[in-house]
């Protein structure tokens, strides 16, 4: 029984999440400043919120509150980290770090749900407490495969919960780098193109997978070379392959990181029906689902503005 690295990371993630969920609420540092008028004024000014309840003491005195109160939606503002100050340890960090390390570097918030138990008065100092409540995945999304991470922050004044927020993000592994406007950065790995191999790369550009063929005895050979190993002829030509094959052997590369491809990636030896073998990456398939004998079809990937590489994707048998 083999355990693929992909499922290993998943197990570790789920175990860590279970651990953190069991830890429950972790108190964070109290707000640096108590609820105060200057910060409220900046907030309502930026929001364009003209509600006098938040800034006009005379108006507020005549309301059910009897005094100025803070806008409820400001709740999170009071305990935000500053430019240089950081929030303390949280039960979320470990899970996010593990996701980052496994390539789920993208992040997008998906849900924010706030409940306000009461309005906050000037001078009150809130303290947050955070608990991880869920980790689900991997799920395939429009942005890439990812995990949904959900946590709840409860804000307290003393021991009294005054508000809470459920927050959910998607940590995803981007499908591929978005093409930058204008010219793309050159892909760092480039094939050696010479007089023996130029026909192959010309073929790739034309969407053809070419196999070198002896101009005399007709023997097919790959990788291409200067002479025929069967009859020693220097005459050569090529044929165009059907573009199908089967995985003969493969490795999943996890480490070390290499410039260009994102780890983990699969390098396979593919057996072509024409009788030669080619080395190439397997794409469009999770590494832990590649198998020896898997039917594949060639696919052409633009790595940058000048370079296209042939790769192999799963096909129906």
């Amino acid at each position: 029984m083999t355990t693929t690295a992909g499922s290993d990371v998943h197990e570790r993630l789920m175990a860590l999440a279970d651990e953190q969920i069991a830890v429950g609420e972790v108190r964070g540092a109290a707000a640096v400043d108590p609820v105060n008028l200057p910060m409220i004024r900046h907030w309502v000014d930026a929001m364009g919120d003209a509600n006098p309840l938040y800034t006009d003491a005379d108006f507020a005195a005549g309301t059910v509150h009897g005094e100025i109160v803070a806008p409820p939606a400001m709740i999170q503002v009071w305990t935000m980290a500053g430019v240089r100050t950081e929030t303390g340890a949280s039960p979320i960090g470990g899970v996010l770090d593990l996701l980052d390390a496994d390539g789920f570097t993208g992040v997008v918030a998906t849900n924010c749900e706030q409940t306000y138990h009461r309005y906050l008065r000037l001078g009150e100092r809130v303290a947050p407490a955070t608990r991880l409540t869920g980790l689900t995945g991997p799920k395939t999304t429009a942005l890439g495969a990812g995990y949904f991470v959900t946590w709840v922050i409860t804000w307290y004044v003393g021991d009294e919960p005054v508000a809470e927020m459920m927050f959910r993000i998607l940590k995803f592994r981007p499908w591929e780098q978005k093409p930058a406007p204008g010219r793309r950065d050159p892909y760092p790995l480039r094939p050696a193109v010479n007089r023996d191999t130029a026909f192959f790369w010309d073929g790739v550009r034309a969407g053809e997978l070419r196999i070198q063929k002896c101009g005399d005895c007709g023997e097919l050979r790959h990788p291409p070379g200067p002479f025929c190993t069967a009859c020693r002829s220097l005459n050569r030509t090529y044929v165009t392959a059907a573009g199908t094959g089967e995985v003969f052997s493969y490795v999943v590369h996890h480490n070390p990181p290499v410039p260009g491809p994102r780890t983990p990636f699969v390098v396979a030896v593919v057996c072509l029906p024409e009788g030669v073998r080619m080395v190439g990456n397997i794409v469009d398939c999770p590494p832990d689902q590649v198998t020896v004998g898997m039917p594949v079809r060639v696919t052409y990937r633009e790595m940058d503005d000048d370079l296209t590489l042939p790769m192999w994707a799963p096909r129906e048998a």
Binding site: A73, M80, G82, C112
Partner: protein, 135 residues
Amino acid sequence: MRTLTQAEITLGTALPPLTINLTPTTVVSTAIATMDFTPVHHDVENARAQGSKDIFLNILTTMGLVERFVTDWSGPQTLIRGINVRLGVPAYAGDVLTITGAVVSCVNGDFTVDVRGAVSLGDHATGTVRFRLPH
């Protein structure tokens, strides 16, 4: 500024739309006022390097604007009980955010307004705001 009474609100009532011109100043000033110094909300080059078109509105501001959208209409003494937002496309600087909504339920004096904040790319935020009225 008056606050509506329960009797003045009927189910299905559409709220006056709130239109926010998302100038860079809007995006940056609200990010700073919400103490959110994440570079994508004030640093254009950083935002572009991360694949975004421009700097974009932060979530704390979306929550604030949705709250304002309701209290602008219902009045200053509205008791906001909760805001539930599902986040969609980014609200980029240079775009216009239009918040619309309607009253969808009233249970024992707890009103719910369905809200939608749309930008040119689609729905930036959809969700609900729950509130009570003092009278």
